[in-house]
Amino acid sequence: MLDLLKPSFLEFQEFFYLAGRALKNIFRKPHYWDDVLLQMDVIGVGSLPIVSLIGAFSGIVMALQMSRAVAQYGASSQTGTFVAIVLVRELGPVLTALLVAGRNASGIASEIGSMKVTDQIDAMRALGTDPNQKLVTPRMLALAFVLPLLTIIADFVGLCGGFLIGKYRLNISAAQYWNSAQQALVWNDVAQGLLKPFLFSFVISLVGCFYGIRTTGGTQGVGRSTTEAVVVSSVWVFILDVFVTQIFVNM
């Protein structure tokens, strides 16, 4: 039993070692701001279309589903309330994180993994750079900055999607929809809606980098790391989500 657990513990330990070094490197020279900006562009701007699209559809679907559920209580006019709460608290952060995990945890793991199997990581060390500082820290910083922004955009586009359904299917006036949505949201919702993506961003970037850097075994190994990065980061997004939600629900 102990032998079975040992590799997992070791992996955990290595992960936290990598995460610790990446965090420490924020305060140490040299800083690779070019790489941070480049990653913001790749991850942030690159994910914008898909995140907006999924945000819009989830808003539309939420409005449709909710309208039927609340119609039983004669509260169709309150659709905006439900869409806003569900999107900002839960669906916005989690869906965006999952999309970015699928898109970028895999991208990060395969990019760094390919570099690892072709000796580029060792070459980096040989030529005077710390791969953690050059590759991990910029990705971590970039994602920590753009994921909350992407989530805000997804939330907003989702609310717009809900509005379309409200106006053209349920005949709710614009003023009523936006008013109920705005009133539904309190600071608690906004805080958890932004804290979640901030925390998820570390999971996605660090898990992606972690599996990338420990890649072995040629191209096959790169494929394996990529898959593991997506699966593990997605699972941890949900696990973290439960904890954060638990804390905010009790507040």
Partner: protein
């Protein structure tokens, strides 16, 4: 003559260095000493520990036991950050070149100049140094290309330019000719000899091709004629090359070409045949 092997200081000392990965032995009590200006050629079959030895020398892999001393610095106990100063004195050509494929050739060659904590030149000189290093391997026209646009032999030459752009006193070439046709391979070896003979670089070459060693041991680069010339008389001493044969992580032979070719050991003599 830029180098004088007889009176020079030790550059690399391996003292009983061992390294294992689980059950596999990568290096088994390896000991040798390379002095400034010397040429050492490591031969051995795949998996005999040649690449791991290069990585230990560069401080990329920490040995399980034994001492590694580079330019008088004991590196086996140094942390990653302290290693950068030592690595700045070593140029390394990786197996398959390991060029950064997201960067242009110019950025690749400029990388050590821009990133090593030891400053080799001012920022305004970087471009000139890069062009000079690329001209050395006759690739100065490829500055804006990316590695995937180049052939295997050209990539290897860019690798040499990147390894030597800082003019390190020690250069390690891991399998410089692996996977190349004989003509391209000889060209690559000519650039390695050129670096040794014009700049006096201590050279460590890992290879599976005996011809590479023969070339290093018997030819020198003549600047006036721009090609390799068979060395005779006094010149022969300056290109003097020590051959090492490795088997399963152990050194089984150390000596000059004549001894290698005279060896009767079945494994060693396999590498002493052209």
């Amino acid at each position: 003559m830029p180098n004088n092997p007889a009176s020079s200081a030790p550059v690399v000392i391996f003292d009983n260095v061992s390294l294992r990965y689980g059950e596999t032995v990568a290096l088994d009590q390896v000991s040798f000493q390379v002095n400034a200006g010397q040429t050492w050629v490591f031969l051995g079959e795949a998996g005999s520990g040649k690449t791991q030895m290069c990585k230990v020398m560069m401080g990329l892999v920490r040995p399980d036991s034994g001492r590694v001393v580079i330019f008088g610095d004991e590196i086996s106990s140094k942390g990653e950050r302290e290693m950068f100063a030592v690595r700045a004195k070593i140029g390394m050509l990786f197996q398959e070149s390991a060029l950064f494929d997201s960067m242009t050739i110019e950025e690749n060659v400029a990388y050590p100049l821009e990133n090593q904590p030891v400053r080799h030149c001012g920022p305004e000189q970087i471009h000139d140094r890069v062009v000079e290093a690329l001209r050395f391997v006759e690739l100065e026209k490829t500055l804006d290309k990316v590695p995937s646009e180049l052939s295997g032999g050209m990539r290897r030459r860019v690798g040499i330019a990147r390894a030597t752009v800082t003019q390190p006193p020690l250069a390690i070439y891991d399998s410089p000719t692996a996977g190349l046709d004989p003509i391209t391979a000889n060209n690559i070896m000519a650039f390695i000899a050129k670096q040794r003979d014009l700049k006096g670089t201590t050279s460590i070459i890992v290879s599976h091709r005996y011809q590479d060693g023969v070339l290093m041991a018997n030819y020198y680069y003549d600047e006036a004629q721009g090609r390799l010339i068979a060395a005779t008389g006094e010149r022969l001493a300056s290109v003097h090359t020590t051959f090492v044969v490795m088997q399963a992580g152990r050194i089984v032979f150390v000596g000059p070409q004549t001894e290698l070719e005279a060896s009767t050991d079945p494994y060693v003599s396999k590498f002493g045949r052209r």
